[in-house]
């Protein structure tokens, strides 16, 4: 049966929606945060995994999106969804601008540049406390007046699904192919007719827009925003999630976010010791499974129900020997 994995995913999604109200408030919160990270991890995977642009400024865009929406709602009383759209639009423009400024940077230079950018953003939010309430935290109007987390669960679910569908369309289109070509070799991509500068800027703009979407939802869910959301700690968690899952595919990046968020909660009893544990898992992943721990599982899952020959093609990520030797 072709596309069996899609039916399985749809069934799991349907079960999650139907039985969501049976989750305790605590685990529902964990699920909502996991979906928040899911949007961030998949959009960072678009940027770092597909286009090879290893930006450490992704959480800065989440914080800019969050503060923009929160402040616009507070100042002008606009509906929250409009505020969120404004945050997304601003971050698309800012992301494109950052992409343009660092057009000639790759690898460590790009990472350090975007790290610098994210620190500047964080410090501005922390020091301009007349506007942002600084480290005390900005009170943000919540999306729903109810104390139940269930509506937030549904919204987070919808945002994650829509984000994945949109990004999925992008990575499966010729744009996705061009982004991967740029990741592999920019010079060869331009010799092949790919407008490298345009697609690098586009990748930054799109990924930053999704980061802003996640950040603005987070603010209107938690009800308070502090500058630390754009800091290096959050960014490190995001990198760990995406790399452990598999940064070159959207579903594995989301899977990484879910697994790490779940483990962070399960291992809460170990306090700070769980963080070195994730550090070790990250090291082992980089050493032994650079495509991520979930990638082989995902490739096997995708081939469920496929005829054997097609399945072999789906597994082409497995290193193969040179037939000429």
């Amino acid at each position: 049966m072709r596309g069996l994995h899609i039916y399985i995913l749809l069934a799991v999604a349907a079960l999650a929606l139907v039985f969501a109200d049976r989750l305790s408030s605590y685990w529902m919160h964990v699920a909502i945060i996991a979906m928040f990270y899911g949007i961030l991890a998949s959009s960072w995977s678009l940027l770092a995994g597909y286009a090879g642009l290893f930006s450490l400024g992704h959480m800065a865009f989440a914080s800019i999106g969050g503060y923009t929406s929160a402040l616009l709602v507070q100042w002008y009383g606009i509906p929250i969804p409009v505020g969120m759209v404004a945050g997304v639009a601003l971050c698309c423009v800012l992301g494109g601008l950052i992409g343009w400024v660092c057009l000639r940077m790759t690898g460590p230079y790009l990472a350090i540049f975007t790290l610098g950018f994210s620190e500047i953003v964080r410090i501005i939010f922390a020091t301009e406390d007349d506007i942002t309430a600084g480290m005390a935290g900005l009170h943000v109007e919540r999306l729903f007046s109810t104390t139940s987390r269930l509506p937030y669960f549904y919204v987070a679910f919808a945002l994650l699904v829509v984000s994945l569908l949109l990004m999925g369309v992008i990575v499966r289109s010729r744009w996705g192919l061009f982004l991967r070509a740029i990741r592999e070799d920019e010079q060869a991509a331009s010799a092949s007719g790919v407008a490298v500068a345009r697609f690098r800027i586009l990748a930054f703009a799109i990924a930053s827009g999704f980061a802003a979407l996640a950040g603005s939802f987070y603010g209107h869910y938690i009800g308070i925003l502090t500058p630390s959301i754009g800091g290096l700690d959050f960014m490190a968690v995001l990198v760990v999630m995406t790399v452990i899952g598999g940064m070159e595919r959207l579903p594995t990046a989301v899977g990484g976010a879910f697994v790490v968020e779940f483990l962070l909660e399960v291992l809460r009893g170990y306090g700070q010791w769980r963080l070195p544990l994730f550090g070790i898992i990250l090291l082992l992943t980089m050493r032994f499974a650079r495509n991520g721990l979930l990638t082989p599982l995902w490739l096997r899952f995708v081939q469920l129900g496929e005829p054997r020959a097609v399945a072999a093609t789906a597994l082409r990520d497995v290193p193969q020997k040179d037939p000429a030797q």
Partner: protein, 241 residues
């Protein structure tokens, strides 16, 4: 030689790297249907010239004209869009993409192209290059010679007016080299224009209709291979290198 048939022209091209003049007022033009061999000792400025003519290196002086359009300040992908394709001295493929995907990239950059037509074109290109059985392999897993063939295929997918091949025979097994030469000859007979840079004199002489020789950043000879081989300046440049 009518002006309309001129595909590319480098006018007084100059390129300096620090104190070294890599190209010193080089004039270079190629007309439709040409098969030019570009030779010269190491460091004579061949690759620099190709990099300038394909938009990968901005000249310090002079001008590149592609099919009558001055290309000053244009990005490399616009050269590709104008029908200028190239390979690289050290093969540059999209290593962690499949052989088929490597060909889809240039095909899909062409305006108005559809996936269906580009996949079809890529498959017939693979067939032409005898690489069909490797379609789903990652490009990095190909042998050196197969990689050179795939790079040629990637150029073909642009349906270019002119192809610059930078050292296509370097490090390639003689059997695959012969295959590469045959493919180039077939493409040339089908109307493609080539500029081939290489140190393999035998292959270059077998292929080219016109030979251009560079030494110390200058063009020192340009003409039919038989004439150029007898040229005293060329003999001196090679003897001195």
């Amino acid at each position: 030689m009518s002006a309309a048939a001129e595909l590319i022209r480098g006018v007084s091209l100059v390129k300096r790297f620090g104190g070294i003049v890599a190209n010193d007022t080089v004039e270079f033009s190629v007309v439709e249907g040409d098969l030019v061999g570009l030779i010269g000792p190491n460091g004579s400025g061949k690759s620099t010239l190709i990099n300038m003519l394909t938009g990968h290196l901005p000249p310090d002086g002079g001008e590149v004209v592609v099919r009558g359009h001055e290309m000053r300040g244009q990005a490399a992908h616009l050269y590709a869009a104008m029908g200028v394709a190239r390979t690289f001295q050290l093969t540059q493929l999209f290593g962690r993409m499949t052989v088929l995907e490597n060909l889809l990239v240039p095909g899909l950059t062409r305006p108005g192209s559809t996936w269906r037509s580009v996949v079809q074109q890529a498959r017939s290109t693979l067939d032409f290059l005898k690489l069909t059985h490797l379609e789903q392999l990652h490009a990095k897993n190909l042998s050196g010679g197969q990689q050179k063939l795939l790079e040629l295929g990637r150029c073909m997918m642009l349906e270019p007016a002119i192809l610059f091949l930078d050292e296509p025979f370097a490090g390639v097994h003689p059997h695959l080299r012969d295959q590469l030469i045959t493919r180039i000859q077939e493409l040339h007979e089908a109307g493609r224009t080539f500029v081939v840079v290489d140190h393999d004199m035998e292959s270059i002489l077998r292929l080219s209709k016109r030979l251009v020789v560079m030494a110390r950043g200058r063009k020192i000879a340009d003409g039919p291979p038989a004439d150029v081989r007898e040229d005293q300046a060329v003999l001196a440049a090679y003897a001195g290198s």
